[in-house]
Symmetry: C2
Subunit: 145 residues, 2 copies
DNA sequence: ACACTATTAATAACAATTATAATCTAGGCC
DNA sequence: GGCCTAGATTATAATTGTTATTAATAGTGT
């Protein structure tokens, strides 16, 4: 499953004439394997041991390229730094206000809201995003103590 | 209407033991009057003529205090800088990808999504936000030319 | 092997925001 | 009304996430 995703992604890169460098491969693989939604710095730190000389700019460059090819999604929330998500199926996010954890939330896409918004605003709506905020189980338990 | 909002807000400040300084008053008034959703820098620039010596830190401090007291809302999107919204009634936002304009979008709150999210995630959901992205009428027309 | 181009690493630049420290002032109290 | 003090402001430095620059490096096609 992961191998399949990785191979598909690599095919996309090849077709676009983007070279598969070791660093790029590692960033891509890390994102596909990650259960979490890492920041650029998370990725940088995680690959540090494998690529001691890698620059943080390389991580950003590769994330930008992967984003431009539609292989990853950039999530921009309040907490300063962007997070990256290799799950390209439409879904929403649930975010813990305490620890910052982000969990995917699959729910039928709210297309009717988009059409209503078009009517009332005159905009041409392309997409929407939604985040639900609260406290995760772990943090709720920690607070009780 | 605006006066009423302003007075209510000032009461809240007084009750919380927060001093009503001229700068703070001006920031608050600007936000309540604003049709737009200004950034900290917008506010800073707008009040520059009235308070030539005002520091940008003052704007940030006051925005933080107003936010902590629940008088304004901070909107954090991808585009680097936060925007501030004095409309505290629940509503969503429609954002133009071309020019960055933000328009309020009133729609019945999606409470059922919150309860579903609680069930599937185990989170305790407090609130949610949604933004719809697209192209506004002005920018659509500009593109045709 | 050669030339060409993409990529990298290192570093500097940048912009938004926050921290620090010295000075000032709003608002309660006499 | 004038004094006092905690809170506010100013100016500046520091921090953080990200992007730009540039020279060195490494694939790719011929």
């Amino acid at each position: 499953m992961l191998d399949h995703q990785l191979n598909t992604a690599i095919d996309t890169l090849k077709k676009s004439g983007v070279r598969i460098t070791p660093q790029r491969h590692a960033v891509l693989e890390y994102l596909l394997t990650a259960e979490t939604h890492p920041t650029a710095d998370d990725i940088y730190k995680a690959l540090e041991s494998k690529f001691p000389n890698m620059s943080v700019a390389t991580v950003y460059n590769n994330l930008r390229i992967l984003r431009e090819l539609g292989l990853v999604r950039e999530l921009t929330y309040g907490d300063s730094s962007s997070r990256f998500d290799s799950n390209m199926v439409d879904h929403y996010h649930i975010i813990c206000d305490e620890c910052g954890k982000i969990v995917d939330f699959h729910y039928p896409t709210l297309d009717e809201i988009e059409s209503l918004a078009e009517k009332v605003s005159g905009f041409n709506i392309n997409y929407h995003r939604m985040e639900l905020y609260g406290t995760c189980e772990e943090c709720s338990q920690a607070k009780v103590q």
